[in-house]
Point group: C2
Chain length 131, copies 2
């Protein structure tokens, strides 16, 4: 129940992913769940620092915590990453094209209409025929 199609704020997700330590925490958790202290010991920074990182990750629902005695075991929740994935998906077609060609195309495209419209007008999205 409420397992599928829960929408997470991709805002919080992207923001959580911005910090290298947090990404490393996720990478660590990918190998298996760990209690907070254990996680902290894997990093050069202080334990409270990691605790705050975990708070952010929790806020983004990228990790979930469950108490286990006096430990707080954290485990990964990859679900919010789907949003990142689908955002990224819109760009995948782009990096299939040669960059220099894309650049040339765009430059030509723009100088063709220097003071009318600026971008390729409607949904004329860089059709491969131009390359």
């Amino acid at each position: 129940m409420r397992n599928r199609s829960v929408t997470y704020s991709s805002e919080a997700t992207f923001q959580a992913l911005a910090d290298p330590t947090r990404r490393a925490v996720l990478d660590l958790l990918r190998r298996g769940s760990q209690p907070a202290g254990e996680i902290a010991r894997a990093f050069p920074v202080s334990r409270p620092a990691i605790s705050k990182h975990l708070r952010l990750l929790r806020r983004a629902h990228l990790v979930q915590e469950h108490r286990q005695g006096r430990n707080r075991v954290y485990h990964l929740n990859p679900e919010p990453l789907r949003a990142v994935d689908s955002w990224l998906d819109q760009y995948r077609t782009f990096w299939k094209m040669s960059l220099t060609n894309l650049k040339r195309f765009v430059e030509a495209e723009y100088s063709k209409e220097t003071n009318q419209g600026h971008a390729p007008k409607s949904n004329r999205k860089t059709s491969k025929g131009d390359l």
Copy 2:
């Protein structure tokens, strides 16, 4: 000439992607290159604010600028996003599993060895057989 396999700092990339406005700028540029002013007009914030966003995006090599008369035309460079994609790739297998099952698995896994080792030791990475 240094066209392929240029390594971008995924650090700068993730950080650039953290801001919603910058992601929107990229989304905009996906429709076609535009001069700075044009981009700025698409957002509620001031033009210098966008200029600074563009600086960050430039720093992350997510956009490239080329002068065109007195305009500075920005175009998208999706290349650094590959790093994000490949980082994300390590998580794709995870979100194929049911979350509740994953959770149960991990909990069981941990309580099995409460005070010995904490994580599934070596590279025993949640083989699908457990679900």
